[in-house]
Amino acid sequence: MGMLERIAGSRRAGPEGNGHLPVDAGLITDTAAYAGERPTAWQAVQTARNIGRPHALDVISRVFDRFQELHGDRGFRDDPAIVAGIAELGGRPVVVVGQQKGASTEENIERNFGMPYPEGYRKAIRCYRLAEKFHLPLVTLVDTPGAYPGPEAEERGQAEAIASSIQVMSRLATPIVVVVLGEGGSGGALALGVGDVVLALENAIYSVISPEGSAAILWRSAAEAERAAQAMKLAGPDLLETGVVDALIKEPAGGAHTDHDATAAAIKTALVAQLERLVRVPVADLLSLRYERFRSFGTVVEPRAGEVAAPPRPWWRRVLGR
């Protein structure tokens, strides 16, 4: 959790504490917890896509109280693949935005398999601004195979909508906690994924492209998806190692689909603990820490870093040999 700890501290627990939950309550912050029994990447992909997995509304109904959904982007239409609204978490209001998949084929068709259109992201942006305006913390729930790639989406500016969503989140003056519930599919997921703290369920995945897409491009065969999944390091423990997520939320044995209530309870504990901590941090610090969090991604090598190139000698010095 890095820099936030320096400001807000990491542990407030214990009998001598002030009654708040420890921030790492129920969280896995170290891959050492997985000694030997790490699920394979392909297992994680299958679990993350399990149709019985708790989706955004399942989580919202169990974690939050009095959820009131808000509809529409005020420009075009209401996108059912993104649900947004205002709810109470432990008696205090928050704004919740999530990508919604269906639990059956019919529901999936209605929800477009959790693939938002640009208007979905614009609805999300509208709700982010609402959170900022009324000083409510923002909780986002990421669960999408990716943004919808159809021609209508292109016409209405899918890329611009995603870019704007990332932009608004990156400087939203309110605490943001992101929870990756299932599939974090590329830019379509990142549009809801810029937060002060990014958590993921244990079996969630987060990737730059779907394993099938990657296999089709790099191996020229979608059948190599399993190998691609392995190579892309998209499973929970890998994400923890690369720092893409700050902590994993423990799922019940057998996966989140086996027990929605227990999963939701774990998410709630984590959310309450994180928000308790984040709301104490001055907003200006939150924003610069959020910038630093995303600024630090990437590993580059600079053989001559810091060296200042000597200014070119003027021609008359070269002629004189000095």
């Binding site: 292109e154 899918q158 704007s164 990737s207 991604f297 590993t299 580059v300």
Partner: protein, 283 residues
């Protein structure tokens, strides 16, 4: 029965090192003439892809470009191997293009206006954005902010670099956050979309310019045309995801022919001159 001369071949009418066929109109173009015409077809105006070096020559004033972070190279964070290892792919791309990665950044002047300029090269692994591109662009934006100099980014990219996995995806957030700081500080950012600009690059900084310009006929879109046509199960209409399509739908400000690009950028930069300089309204 055809008789063939076993000695020597009939000279080709259009040897490939001298001539290029225009993919749009089929005209055979003499390479030197094509280069003199800024890689634009003299017959139909088709814009060929331009490498980073040629792009710099086109936009920056002569000898004004000073490259920064020239020696930055990528490491292999995931140990990624497909049919080749990722370091092998990088080495091959470096040998092919002569660049260390898919973007050149630095300071330059455009019609005597000092700018921070970043130019992407599609030839380098499809112009894909990984750690190095993300870091260089972020530094370019931070430099622009520190110097209060306008930022000009010429995008040419297939999207995020798959070989760096989720780290490459995070470059979207990183670059967006960096150009957003310019936005807050009132430093101009001009984004130029060239053929092709797709995926994660379009879904991040490239869409967020104060001014977004595109070159005629450039392929610009979020998802690859193949994915889209598979999604709807039919062929896509002609001109789909082209620069003019985006202009029609309101996502680029202008489609500017290559010959006018420099003066057009200079015009906007002149109008947006950072506060404290002349010609500003006293608001």
């Amino acid at each position: 029965m055809r008789l063939r001369n076993p000695f020597g071949r009939k000279p080709k009418e259009f040897p490939s090192h001298l001539w290029t066929q225009c993919p749009n109109c089929g005209e055979m173009l003499f390479n030197k003439q094509l280069a003199r015409n800024q890689s634009v077809c003299t017959n139909c105006g088709h814009h060929f892809k331009l490498g980073a070096k040629e792009r710099l020559e086109l936009l920056a004033d002569a000898r004004s470009f000073t490259e920064t972070d020239a020696d930055m190279v990528s490491s292999d964070p995931l140990g990624f191997v497909d049919s080749k290892t990722y370091p092998d792919r990088i080495a091959a791309a470096q040998a092919k293009t002569g660049h260390k990665d898919a973007v050149l950044t630095g300071t330059a002047t455009i019609s005597d206006i000092p700018v921070v300029l970043a130019v992407m090269d599609f030839e380098f692994m499809g112009g894909s954005m990984g750690s190095v591109v993300g870091e260089k662009l972020t530094r370019a934006a931070e430099r622009a902010l520190a110097d209060r100099a306008p930022l000009v980014i010429v995008a040419a990219s297939g999207g995020a670099r798959m070989q760096e996995g989720t780290i490459a995806l995070m470059q979207l957030a990183k670059t967006v956050a960096a150009v957003t700081r310019l936005d807050e500080a009132g430093v101009p950012f001009v984004s130029v979309l060239t053929d092709p600009t797709t995926g994660g690059v379009l879904a991040s900084f490239a869409s967020l310019g104060d001014i977004v310009l595109a070159e005629p006929g450039a392929l610009i879109g979020f998802s690859g045309a193949r994915v889209t046509s598979e999604t709807i199960g039919e062929k896509l209409p002609k001109g789909f995801q082209r620069a003019e399509f985006l202009l029609d739908h309101g996502f680029v400000d202008q489609v500017v022919p290559r010959a006018q690009l420099k003066e057009r950028i200079a015009f906007f930069l002149g109008a947006f001159r950072v506060a404290g300089q002349d010609l500003r309204w006293s608001l």
